[in-house]
């Protein structure tokens, strides 16, 4: 009996459903036509036009500054959280801790954005880059914590005892043993956090203030006034950057057993 063709058909249908819009978008970004209806000629004109838009550039800088600082904060906090979660796994407090860390992964973003907005307003904190960064740290740290936690699964605590036994105090153990051993996990989590921060819209939208427009918010407002070809180009660039980050992140977390590394 020949194997059924149904699985193959379904697979292709799913792939088309997911990726066709993206393929169209990428293709359109190279179309010189003002409107996407017909193909005029292949050109990089929208990419060049993009270079001259200062508002987009300042939004990009904002986004990168926020993403970088949120990632750094999330890496430090997330790693500490993961370490506590693993070291004291089983205690009741750590079960609560785990739920708290896990929550942002499942909570609707709109809820998080709204609650944070109310929180900042209640505390009379000026909305702006700082509040966006802080909000990003809160959800990014969950991703870092989960990635590092996965890497900690086969971590052997006698390594820490061995370091102490050889004369290393806590600080030396941290820098010479713990961080180097967990580095791939921390970096993978960091890259994930970075991409998430770059394209976050909902939470940023709620806690943004004057002068702190990020790229996703900028794109949203551009759509309202209609500049699809520019957005296509911008989206393609974002897509490439995100794809690169995720790929590196996955390579890092997979590579842990490869010999010679």
């Amino acid at each position: 009996m020949r194997p059924s063709r149904v699985p193959a058909i379904v697979t292709w249908a799913v792939l088309v459903f997911f990726y066709l819009p993206i393929v169209v978008l990428v293709a359109q970004s190279f179309n010189s036509s003002r409107f996407g209806g017909h193909w005029e000629s292949t050109s990089l004109k929208w990419y060049i036009a993009l270079m001259q838009r200062d508002d987009i550039w300042s939004a990009l800088v904002n986004t990168l500054v926020i993403a970088a600082s949120a990632t750094l904060g999330a890496m430090i906090l997330g790693t500490s959280a993961a370490f506590a979660l693993h070291r004291y796994a089983g205690s009741r407090l750590q079960k609560v801790h785990y739920s708290v860390i896990y929550m942002p992964l499942v909570l609707p973003e709109i809820l998080m954005g709204l609650s944070m907005l109310l929180f900042f307003v209640a505390l009379k904190i000026q909305l702006g880059m700082f509040t966006i960064g802080l909000a990003h740290v809160t959800f990014c740290l969950s991703y870092v914590a989960m990635t590092v936690l996965a890497r900690l699964q086969d971590f052997d605590y006698t390594i820490i005892e061995a370091a102490q036994d050889l004369g290393a105090g806590w600080w030396t153990t941290l820098w010479r043993v713990l961080i180097p051993m967990l580095a791939p996990g921390i970096l993978a989590g960091g890259l994930l956090a970075f991409t998430l921060s770059i394209d976050d819209f909902v939470i940023s939208f709620f806690v943004a203030g004057p002068g702190s427009t990020t790229l996703p918010i900028r794109i949203y407002s551009m759509i309202k006034y209609g500049a699809p070809p520019l957005i296509n180009a911008l989206s393609t660039i974002l897509l490439v950057v995100t794809f690169a980050c995720v790929t590196i992140s996955q390579l890092l977390s997979r590579n842990k057993r490869a010999p010679g590394t």
């Binding site: 061995a162 370091a163 102490q164 010679g260």
Partner: protein
């Protein structure tokens, strides 16, 4: 020489479990000292307290006259070899060995010199730049030893260092450990549940049970003169006879006008179930009417087809061979005598191919001198369970003359 390393009345509890129960021990400088016992006897806890990973609830630990009880592990001049080696996976072997020296901020030249000397000692100069996951278990073991020894510790702590290795490798590492101990001249504190390892390496052994030191002595003292039935059963093989002490033997012998034995020795007669009465040297002056175990090591028993000549203080039993195991250098027999299944080990000093070996089902005589048995108090139910515990690791090392502990076999 004053005591080098001392545990003074050290106690440590984990909840209701007494991991260490008022232990006092002292170890001499340069000694190879073993802590031996079944799992959960508290041997590892003692080692971890010395390393500084645990702190005792009460008592002090002294190293070379200095009280180190409250000093953190990274300031103690002791180094540990962990059961799973605990090498740093992200560092090369060279960097693993150099770790302690770098932390101690030694000069670059000094580090290079000492690390290379260590690599030469473990014969791994050519593999210095490999990572730990690229080398074998035995090699990891050697790197772990080098990483500890390079710091010139006052005491080297070894926590079941051979448990993760296979039998062949373990036997080779035993010899290497012994060599390294001789060369380094450092005090070794060795923790193991394997009596073979402990017997073959140690200058002295402390046999532990339930957080206490049951007996302390040289391997020969512990094997030949166990103080308790637990020690007798745990160290090597033994036959136990469950009996009651009857009247002293010499009086009876004199009354019957038989040959008077050496009078300064005091032998007691033991009444053992449905077996003939047995004689045993009673150096502990155990009183008449006491219930005891008579313990006789398998290699102390003689086995023969013909009835041996009757002599004073020689016990003789008649039984049927139930099993014969030929082991090359020796043969092991299991002989049924009444309710007892007695194990006998016979060393092959000479072997004639035309000699008719004793076979399964034959009627044989077992005999031994009363001096070779010893009377011990019966061990409790709880200890019996301890002895039945499966070995913690891959298996037992049959190191002559003490095969794997198998106490219960002889008593059924």
């Amino acid at each position: 020489m004053s005591e080098f390393l001392e545990f003074v009345d050290v106690s440590k509890n984990y909840g209701a479990i007494k991991a260490s129960d008022h232990v006092s021990l002292s170890v001499k400088q340069g000694e190879f000292f073993s802590l031996l016992g079944p799992s959960g006897c508290g041997k590892t806890t003692l080692l971890r307290m010395l390393a500084g990973f645990e702190s005792p609830d009460s008592g002090r630990i002294l190293l070379d006259g200095q009280d180190i009880t409250d000093i953190p592990p990274y300031q103690r001049k002791v180094n540990t070899i962990f059961q799973n080696y605990a090498l740093f996976p992200h560092l090369s072997l060279w960097d693993n060995i150099a770790f302690g020296l770098r932390v101690a901020k030694c000069s670059k030249k000094d580090i290079k010199e000492r690390v290379e000397k260590m690599l030469a000692l473990i014969q791994m100069e050519d593999q210095a730049w490999k990572k730990p996951d690229q080398i074998s278990g035995g090699q990891k073991q050697r790197v772990a030893i080098a990483r500890a020894l390079v710091n010139q510790p006052r005491v080297l702590l070894l926590d079941e260092p051979l448990a993760a290795l296979d039998l062949k490798l373990r036997q080779r590492m035993l010899i290497e450990l012994d060599l390294i101990h001789d060369q380094a001249g450092i005090t070794f504190l060795y923790v193991t549940h394997d009596q073979g390892e402990a017997m073959s390496l140690s200058d002295r052994i402390a046999v532990m049970r339930s957080g206490r030191v049951e007996q302390l002595g040289t391997p020969a003292q512990i094997y030949e003169a166990p103080r308790t039935s637990f020690v007798a059963a745990f160290i090597g093989d033994t036959n136990f006879f469950d009996g009651t002490v009857a009247e002293p033997v010499d009086q009876r012998a004199i009354l019957r006008g038989m040959l008077p034995a050496v009078v300064d020795k005091d032998y007691s007669r033991l009444v053992i179930g449905d077996l003939p009465d047995l004689e045993c040297f009673n150096d502990k002056q155990i009183k008449q009417g006491e219930h005891v175990f008579l313990s006789v090591r398998p290699e102390k028993l003689s086995i023969s087809r013909e009835e041996p000549e009757r002599r004073p203080h020689v016990n003789m039993l008649r039984g049927t061979v139930e099993d014969v195991i030929y082991l090359g250098s020796q043969t092991k027999y299991w002989v049924r005598v009444g309710e007892y299944r007695i194990s006998i080990v016979r060393q092959h000093t000479r072997f004639f191919l035309d000699e008719k070996p004793i076979k399964w089902g034959e009627e044989v005589w077992i005999s031994w001198h009363a001096d070779d048995g010893f009377m011990l108090e019966k061990y409790s139910e709880q200890d019996e369970n301890l002895l039945r515990l499966p070995p913690e690791a891959v298996g037992e090392t049959p190191v002559e003359p003490a095969p794997a502990p198998a106490a219960e076999e002889a008593r059924t």
